[in-house]
Structures are given as structure tokens and as C-alpha cells.
């Protein structure tokens, strides 16, 4: 009898553990996963929240057997641009907005897989501090999501956030943000680093700067007889002279001072910024050939080593020495001057060096004078001179950064010359005509 009772009790205990374990069990398809959050300033309430999530309509991927069965239907359905839904609601806070959307969306909205949060510039200028609190604290949200500040309204940006290459929106967002590594025209801004930048006294926060391009910047008129070569062209969102499928674009960096938007770096400045930060992976720059102006030289540059940043105090003012070692590979020499030879290599080195150094110096000056924001994290080095955090905080680095002296040295060395080792002129035609002209 006792044995039976004890068995019963232990069975109840085991079932207790097992069955209460189920309480947060949920099937995958009983939720939708908001991939992008957009936050705009509200009219009647605090915010207007937009979310974008993938739908589970079977086109491609999921069940190929389905499409095999009725091939005609699937063909027509796969012509759809994107399998996502966008919902927008005005709400007092992000999380309540998500819940309020539950009145319209048939499944629970989960933030587990949110890839990106988009703020409008309007909100960013006022300060994002009021809006990001739930993202920091809420269990579901990923702290690896990207932070983007867009010109215009976040809602409109999300409306234009369509996948044109494949079906998967998640992949599109992930790869779009990875483009930062391939080109360096916009930074990779994860929420953790963004939040750290907002909170810390060592550095300033940055976010991806985005916008919608209306395709009206591409010149339409007839070109003049010569197309001039303009190098070091930086763009801001909505300024790219392009035409195409996707209207949304990420161009440059949004720079914050505290939690407020201070300004923006254009696409080229962003490259310099990433170079100084040591996060520049690779990218091709074009410089004007000093020997034969009007001819471009394209070089692939990358960091030879992590930037060496040293800090010292001179007469009570912080002095920061930055040394960049840059390696490059020649991709094209339009002037066909034989820069690959040992004698000419230094000339090309110095051309690249001058180009980079002037750009970098301009950027540093911009952050000091115009933006007044230490986006490079020099503060981390300077802080080493203060024994305690209190003293450091009392010192107030943000107020001193604009007056810090930054000495920049850049070393450029060309490591590879691409597939050619010798640039020679187009001999058969150019040389002979020149010779003849000379004889005449």
C-alpha cells in the first residue's frame, strides 16, 4: 500500500515537472517573426510602430512537392516581389504596440528574430534614449540587431524594403548589412555597440544611415564632350546617382552625440572612419593620376595591421598619435604608366598616401569641429591616464575631444599588382601615330 502511495506521489511529481515544462512550448508556425522594426514620431501618441515579417505562403523553398503538384499556380505566385507583410500602428510604446497589433495579426508577433531597428531622423535628432529602453531589457529582442537611422519616415523605408533577388527577407537584410564588410560605405552598427556608445563617456555612437532614393539624382541631360574625373565623391542617402529596383539604400554613417543625432558622414568619410577604427575589410578606391591627370588609378586597399593609436598629454592637452599601415593591390592604371617598377612604386605609394591622409585629416577635423563626437573611441586610450572612473568622468572627455590634437601618419605599401606586372602603352597604335606626328 505504502509502495503504491509513494509510487503515485512520485509519478505526480514527475508529471508536475514534465507538464509544467510545457507552458512556454509553442509551434514555430504559431508565431510570426518581426524582422524589421520601424519607429516614427507619433501624431496622437508617442510613436508610430511599423513591423515587417515574413509570411509562410509556400513559394519556392518550403515545400517543393507542393509546387511540383500544381506547377502553373506556383509559377504565377513566384512572380510576387516579396513574401512579407508590413503592419503599422500608433502606440504609446514599442512593446504595447506589438501587443496592439495582435488585434489585427492572426499570430503572436515575436521579436526573437528581429534583424534591424529603424529610427526616423526626426526621432534620432530628439534622442533615441526614450525608445530603446524596452529593447535593452526585453527578453525576446536580440541585442545583435542592426540600428539604422533613415531620412524621412521609417515606415516608408520599410515599405520599400523589398527582396528582389530571392524570397527570403531575413537573408536580404543579413547580406545587405554584410555589404559593409565588402565595401565600407556604411558601418556595421549592432545594437550592443550602439547602446554602449550612447551610454559611455569614451566614445560616441554611430548607426547606419539610410534612406529612400527616388532615382532623380541620375543626370538625364546630354553629356558634354568630356566627362570629367571626379574622385573622392561622398554621398548621403537619397543622393546616389543611380536607378534600379530597390529604392531603399544604406549610405554613410549617422553620428550621435549622446543619444541625439549630431550629423552624418557621407559614404567616403565612412570608409575613412572604418579605416581608423580598424574595421575596414577591403574596398577599391579611385585616385586621379598625378602624372597624367584625368586618368584614374584604382587600388584595392586594406589594413596591413590594426591601427596603432597612442595617447599622451602635452601641456594638459591630449595628443593622439595614430599610425595606419595600409596595404594595397593595384587594380587598374589607366594612364598605363609603369608604376609597377621599383622606381615608380614609391610615386604611386605617395599618391595613395596623400589621398588617404587628406581624407582622413578632413574626417578627423569634421568630427572635432562639426560633429564634436569621438566616434573613433580615442577616449578608451585617453582614459588610461586617469586613475579612477570618477576622475575620468569629471574630466568630461566629450568636451575635450574637439581640442585634442590628432597626429596622423599613414604608411602605404603596394603588395600586389594584380594579374599584370608591367603597364605598357597600347603600342601598335599609340606609339606609331605619335612617332609619325613627331616626324611630321
Amino acid at each position: 500500500m505504502l509502495r503504491k502511495i509513494s509510487l503515485f506521489i512520485s509519478a505526480v511529481l514527475v508529471l508536475n515537472i514534465l507538464l509544467t515544462g510545457c507552458y512556454d512550448s509553442m509551434e514555430i508556425d504559431s508565431e510570426v517573426y518581426a524582422l524589421v522594426l520601424g519607429i516614427d514620431k507619433g501624431v496622437n501618441n508617442k510613436i508610430i510602430l511599423s513591423i515587417q515579417y515574413s509570411t509562410y505562403k509556400s513559394s519556392g523553398g518550403g515545400s517543393s512537392e507542393e509546387s511540383g503538384k500544381n506547377g502553373e499556380d506556383s509559377q504565377s505566385s513566384s512572380n510576387k516581389i516579396s513574401d512579407t507583410n508590413i503592419q503599422t500602428i500608433e502606440a504609446p510604446s514599442i512593446l504595447e504596440g506589438i501587443d496592439m497589433l495582435g488585434m489585427a495579426v492572426s499570430r503572436r508577433i515575436s521579436l526573437m528574430h528581429t534583424k534591424m531597428i529603424v529610427f526616423s531622423e526626426e526621432i534620432a535628432k530628439e534622442g533615441v534614449g526614450n525608445y530603446i529602453a524596452p529593447i535593452v531589457r526585453y527578453r525576446e529582442t536580440r541585442k545583435t540587431m542592426h540600428v539604422a537611422i533613415v531620412k524621412g519616415k521609417a515606415e516608408e523605408f520599410i515599405n520599400e524594403n523589398k527582396t528582389n533577388i530571392g524570397d527570403s527577407l531575413a537573408k536580404a537584410i543579413e547580406l545587405l548589412t554584410t555589404q559593409s564588410k565588402n565595401t565600407g560605405f556604411f558601418p556595421e552598427a549592432r545594437f550592443t555597440s550602439f547602446y554602449r556608445g550612447i551610454m559611455s563617456s569614451y566614445e560616441s555612437a554611430v548607426a547606419i544611415h539610410g534612406g529612400i532614393n527616388n532615382f532623380d539624382k541620375l543626370p538625364k541631360g546630354n553629356h558634354s564632350s568630356t566627362s570629367p574625373l571626379i574622385v573622392d565623391t561622398g554621398f548621403l542617402p537619397d543622393e546616389l546617382p543611380r536607378k534600379g529596383v530597390t529604392k531603399r539604400e544604406f549610405v554613410g554613417t549617422a553620428v550621435f552625440r549622446g543619444d541625439k543625432l549630431a550629423g552624418a558622414l557621407n559614404s567616403n568619410e565612412t570608409r575613412y572612419y572604418l579605416l581608423l577604427l580598424g574595421k575596414y575589410k577591403r574596398g577599391i578606391i579611385t585616385i586621379d593620376d598625378r602624372e597624367k591627370p584625368g586618368n584614374e588609378i584604382a587600388v584595392d586597399i586594406r589594413l596591413g595591421r590594426h591601427p596603432m593609436i597612442k595617447c599622451r598629454f602635452e601641456n594638459g592637452n591630449p595628443v593622439i598619435d595614430v599610425n595606419l599601415k595600409i596595404e594595397s593591390e593595384i587594380e587598374s592604371i589607366n594612364s598605363r604608366i609603369n608604376y609597377e617598377s621599383i622606381d615608380n612604386l614609391d610615386s604611386l605609394d605617395s599618391q595613395i598616401k596623400d589621398y588617404l591622409q587628406s581624407g582622413l585629416n578632413k574626417l578627423i577635423e569634421k568630427t572635432q569641429k562639426e560633429l564634436k563626437a569621438d566616434i573613433f573611441g580615442f577616449g578608451h586610450k585617453v582614459a588610461g591616464y586617469f586613475p579612477t572612473i570618477q576622475e575620468w568622468e569629471q574630466y568630461n572627455w566629450p568636451s575635450h575631444y574637439p581640442y585634442a590634437k590628432v597626429n596622423l601618419t599613414v604608411d602605404v605599401s603596394i603588395r600586389r599588382t594584380g594579374l599584370l606586372i608591367y603597364s605598357s602603352p597600347f603600342k601598335a597604335w599609340e606609339d606609331k601615330t605619335e612617332e609619325k606626328e613627331g616626324k611630321k
Binding site: 505504502l2 507538464l19 512556454d24 508556425d29 517573426y33 524582422l35 509556400s58 534583424k115 527570403s168 531575413a170
Partner: protein, 597 residues
């Protein structure tokens, strides 16, 4: 008062008590020595088992007993359980009685008269014996008078044994129960009036299967022989591989009613005698009517019947058995099943395949990693899938998550039901595949693949992602080299599906702890299943990463073998060349130093 006692008793159910001391077996250390005497001594010291050997593997023709002694026993003794009578009629009556003669038509007694004066009979069981042997080499010489040149008034049997019978094996049997056993295993007994013993000639001639290819443990490279149901063939197959005079074959009787035989094989001088003693102790203590073969025997002698993983290795390959025997283990082969049981083992030896050693070590090691991966797939994959999809959706890559959600969209069942359905369907295919008659066996694959896979997905019963999960799980299960372990993996899998379904990863990690603890607590003939990891002992050269064969110098440490080394430090003597080459010489001298150390 009563309440108090119930409370204390209830408390005692969940509180710690000192475990009752059960009889445990551990393998003692043995001093290594050059001669086998030490091992034998240990064997004798430890030996306290009943010596119930039915008959020895070597049949020595015993020296005939002196005629004078025979004469003293002339007075008639009645044949009974303890004595063989010297009267032919009494003996015949005894055997007829024992074998229920007129009703039992298989039992044959052939009476005849030698030299016109000595009454004699042959006794055997029809069908078990080879007729030609009896006719040509026992009966014919006995009936030819010229064979009896030397006239003697003694019991003829000694003379017959020495001079007349033309069979290769013939022994004198003096005990009635041995007589019956000899008859039962297919030998032919000869009795001559006036003697109080029989002569048994080896005449086994029953039908048996040929040595065939292995069915379960097939390999690409390596021997292609497998055991069959005949005990003698099986021991011969091993002896064919280990040509060593120290290879011992001992026979023990198992099953009281079916009088089955089992052979214990080991190499004296390598194996720790305590293991042999323990094996013999366990087998000879069995009291049961019927043991059909190794499968039943395994269950009778295993240490822990509740263990999920097998604690005895069962193999149908003579080469695998031989390599284990030479490692210092004991093989038990039972008549009637084409399997040898090997004790003691560890969990890791269940992942080994004879192919590992016949292939080069790089390939063998890779295959072992694949097999261990297969084991984890087979046990954990569906459980992890259920846990991931029900509890930890944030861990799935977004694209995969949406792909799973898309696949799941039109399916009316929750994931766990689909998993259970597919698991059941898969087990059905498996079971039906075994039972289905061979000729239509091919169709089962088509039915399984098409109907269950394709159609279930098209009918929106099962998510295609799940089909992949179950398929990989099934493949993983088949890749486990040991059949019993594969069964164990299936049970563990169900356990993990349950845990994953109810408590997610937390449950799975709890389950892992429980399973590991259970395995760690299991012993196989005194050896912990997780050895050499727990307890941590000297590392083996052949655990998971198989080192080159010339590096495997030591036998497994947990066996405490008498001879601990398999080969010297330098087994490839050709690497040490003669003094002609100075560089080689330098190297070799260095190595020699190391060897001596």
C-alpha cells in the same frame, strides 16, 4: 504511533541509505611474469567454482586399466545413476529406460556378438551420427575375427580401443551421466559384456550450415567469414586464426533440459584468470531448463539487466572474436547461434569494427568519428529538433526558421505528433523489412520511401524538414556497428524526444546527465563501461583515435592482463638498420635507449 511509523517509512523511501552489499566482481591485478605459472597459480587460488566441465577438448586415449583390476570387478553390479554395470542386459535396460526406448524412435541400440562369444552393442541417436563412420570404421572391424589376434580373457574393450576401432577420436567413459551426454551430442558408444565402461567414438554427423558471409557485420576490407550454428565449427574458425597452443577451449553445459553446450575460449598466459573463473562461475551456476544460444545466455550472465547499453559484445565474426581473445578477453560461444559473446567490454569497443584495424589508421579513425557522430544523431537529433522548434526558436537561423514555418504551415499536427508518427512509421518499415518474405522484400523499400516520405508530405501530414530529420536519424542508427547498441540508441532516442518535448534543452541536458550516469554505473564483468574515461586509467592506443598498428604496444589496461604488452616499443625492426648508415645508426641507438627505458 502508526502515523509516525508511516511517516518514517515514507521518509525512508526518499532518503539515503547505505546500499546493501551486493556481490561484486572486480578484476584483480596480476603480476606479469615470463612463464605462465603465476597466472595459473592465481587461477588456482581464485578458483572455487564447481569444476563441471563436461568433457575436455582434447581426447587423450587413456592407458588401459590392468587386466587384474578388471577381474576383481567381475561381480555383477546393477546399472544405475552412479555405476555402469558389467552386465550387458542391465546396461541396456538402463539406457532404454533413460531414453524411453520403444517410444523414442531416434534412440538406436545395435546388438552384435564379437568373435562369436562376446555380446556387445553400439548405442547412438539416429540422425546425429554419421552412418558411414559407424559402418566402416566401428562395426566392420569389430565383426572381422582376424582383428582379434591376441587372445585375452580380459574385458575386450581396452583391447578394442587400442587395436580394433578405426575412428580418430575414442575415449573411455566410466560415468553413466557422461554416457548419456556423449550419446546426446552425437557420439557412438560401444559396450562389451563384462566391462564397466563404454568406449565413445566421435561420429557426429548431423547436418549443419556451411561457413557463410557475415550478415550483420559486413565489412569492405577484411575477412568475410562468419560463425555458423555448429559449436565445433565456430571454435575451429577461431583456432584457425589463433594458432597457439595456449588457446584454451573449455566446454560447459547450459540448459538443464536441452543440454546445450557452450565453449569458453581464451588464451592462457594473456587473460587474467579471474575473468575466466568469473565466466565459468556464472555459467555453471545457471539453473534453467532451456538456453537456446548466445542470445539467451547473454541475458543470463550479464551484470545489469536494466542497462540500456549492452554489457556483452555479441559478434558473428571469427576475426573480431580472435582479436578480442588476444586482447585478453574471454569469448563464449553457445551451440545453436552463430554468435560469440565477448567479455568484458567497454562502451567504446561497441563502436569498433574489424574494418578499423584492417584499414590504414587515418581511414579507420575517420570511420570511428563518423560512427560516434552517427550515435549522437541516432539518439539526439529528433529530441533536439522537437526542443528547438517548441522552446528555442531563437536558436534557429532565421532563414531556416521561416523555411520550417513555411513547411509547417499547412500541416494540422503539432511537431511532436509528427515526430511520433514518423518514428513509428520508420520502425514499422524496419520491422516489416525483417519479417517480409525475401522475394517481395524489395518492395518494402519502395513502399517506405514513396508512400511514407513523398505521400505524407504531399498529403500535408508531415513536414518535409521532419522527413529529413527522421531519415538522418535512421541512417545514423544503421551506422552504429553494434546491433544491440543500435537498439539501445532507439530507446534513448524516445527518451530524449519525450524530454525535449516537455522541457526543451533543459530536459535534454538532464537526460544526458541521467544516461551518462547510468552508463557510468554499469559494469561488464568487473569493467566500468566508460573506461578508460571514467575511471581515468592509462590511455589506450585504440580508443577512438586509432594509432598506427605498430604503435599499439599495450593491451587494454582495464583487463589487467597477465601479459600486458602486445609488442615491444619497436615492433618494426626494419626501421633499425645495420651500422652501415651512420645517420640511421644514430637514430636507432637513440630509439634503443628509449626502448630500454
Amino acid at each position: 504511533m502508526k502515523k509516525d511509523s508511516i511517516f518514517s517509512r515514507a521518509l525512508s523511501l526518499i532518503t539515503y541509505k547505505n546500499a546493501e552489499k551486493a556481490k561484486t566482481f572486480t578484476i584483480p591485478e596480476v603480476e606479469q611474469s615470463k612463464n605462465n605459472a603465476a597466472g595459473t597459480a592465481q587461477y588456482d587460488n581464485n578458483g572455487q567454482t564447481s569444476k563441471k566441465s563436461v568433457h575436455k577438448n582434447t581426447r587423450i586415449i587413456k592407458k588401459p586399466i590392468a587386466p587384474s583390476e578388471q577381474k576383481n570387478n567381475k561381480s555383477a553390479i546393477k546399472a544405475d545413476e552412479n555405476h555402469i554395470s558389467n552386465n550387458i542386459a542391465s546396461n541396456m535396460a538402463y539406457l532404454n529406460n533413460k531414453f524411453n526406448y520403444p517410444d523414442n524412435k531416434d534412440f538406436i541400440i545395435r546388438e552384435f556378438i564379437i568373435k562369436g562369444k562376446y555380446k556387445a552393442f553400439l548405442v547412438y541417436i539416429d540422425g546425429m551420427v554419421d552412418r558411414m563412420t559407424i559402418n566402416n570404421f566401428i562395426l566392420r572391424p569389430l565383426l572381422k575375427d582376424e582383428n582379434f589376434v591376441n587372445e585375452n580373457e580380459v574385458c575386450e574393450l581396452d583391447y578394442i580401443l587400442a587395436n580394433v576401432i578405426e575412428t580418430n577420436q575414442a575415449v573411455k567413459v566410466t560415468k553413466p551421466d557422461e554416457v548419456i551426454e556423449e550419446i546426446l551430442i552425437g557420439d557412438t558408444g560401444l559396450y562389451v559384456d563384462g566391462c564397466d565402461y563404454y568406449i565413445f567414438s566421435e561420429t557426429k554427423g548431423y547436418d549443419k550450415r556451411n561457413v557463410d558471409k557475415p550478415l550483420i557485420e559486413g565489412v569492405v576490407k577484411g575477412s568475410q567469414e562468419a560463425f555458423n550454428e555448429n559449436l565445433k565449427t565456430n571454435t575451429t574458425l577461431i583456432r584457425k586464426i589463433i594458432k597457439n597452443n595456449d588457446l584454451m577451449t573449455e566446454f560447459l553445459k547450459i540448459g538443464e533440459k536441452n543440454n546445450n553446450l557452450c565453449a569458453i575460449m581464451y588464451v592462457k598466459g594473456i587473460v587474467n584468470p579471474a575473468i575466466v573463473e568469473e565466466v565459468k562461475r556464472r555459467i555453471s551456476s545457471l539453473k534453467t531448463d532451456y538456453i537456446s544460444g548466445s542470445g539467451m545466455l547473454e541475458q543470463f550472465i550479464e551484470e545489469n539487466s536494466w542497462s540500456i547499453v549492452p554489457t556483452i559484445l555479441s559478434t558473428e565474426r571469427p576475426d573480431r572474436t580472435a582479436s578480442h581473445i588476444l586482447d585478453g578477453k574471454v569469448a563464449i560461444i553457445a551451440e545453436g547461434t552463430p554468435f560469440a559473446l565477448i567479455v568484458p567490454i567497454t562502451l567504446f569497443s561497441l563502436f569498433h569494427s574489424p574494418e578499423d584495424t584492417s584499414m590504414r589508421w587515418q581511414y579507420g579513425t575517420l570511420m570511428r568519428f563518423i560512427r560516434i557522430g552517427a550515435f549522437f544523431f541516432a539518439t539526439l537529433l529528433p529530441g533536439l529538433y522537437v526542443a528547438l522548434t517548441n522552446f528555442h526558436r531563437e536558436m534557429i537561423p532565421t532563414d531556416l526558421l521561416i523555411a520550417i514555418a513555411k513547411a509547417q504551415e499547412n500541416i494540422p499536427f503539432p511537431t511532436i505528433l509528427q515526430v511520433i508518427f514518423m518514428e513509428f512509421a520508420f520502425e514499422l518499415i524496419r520491422e516489416a523489412g525483417i519479417r517480409i518474405p525475401g522475394i517481395i522484400g524489395n518492395t518494402i523499400g519502395i513502399i517506405g520511401a514513396l508512400i511514407l516520405g513523398q505521400a505524407a508530405v504531399q498529403a500535408n501530414l508531415v513536414s518535409p524538414v521532419l522527413i529529413i530529420i527522421i531519415a538522418i536519424t535512421g541512417l545514423g542508427n544503421f551506422a552504429i556497428p553494434d546491433f544491440s547498441l543500435a537498439f539501445g540508441a532507439r530507446i534513448i532516442r524516445l527518451f530524449f524526444i519525450t524530454m525535449g518535448c516537455f522541457i526543451g534543452f533543459y530536459g535534454i541536458s538532464l537526460g544526458l546527465v541521467v544516461i551518462t550516469a547510468l552508463i557510468a554505473n554499469t559494469k561488464s564483468f568487473g569493467v566500468n563501461m566508460l573506461e578508460p574515461l571514467a575511471p581515468w586509467i592509462k590511455k589506450s592506443q585504440d580508443l577512438i583515435i586509432r594509432k598506427p598498428v605498430w604503435k599499439q604496444e599495450r593491451r587494454p589496461d582495464y583487463l589487467n592482463a597477465v601479459d600486458k604488452t602486445m609488442q615491444p616499443l619497436i615492433s618494426r625492426k626494419w626501421t633499425i638498420t645495420d651500422a652501415q648508415n651512420p645517420i640511421q645508426d644514430k637514430i636507432s641507438s637513440k630509439r634503443r635507449d628509449k626502448d630500454e627505458q
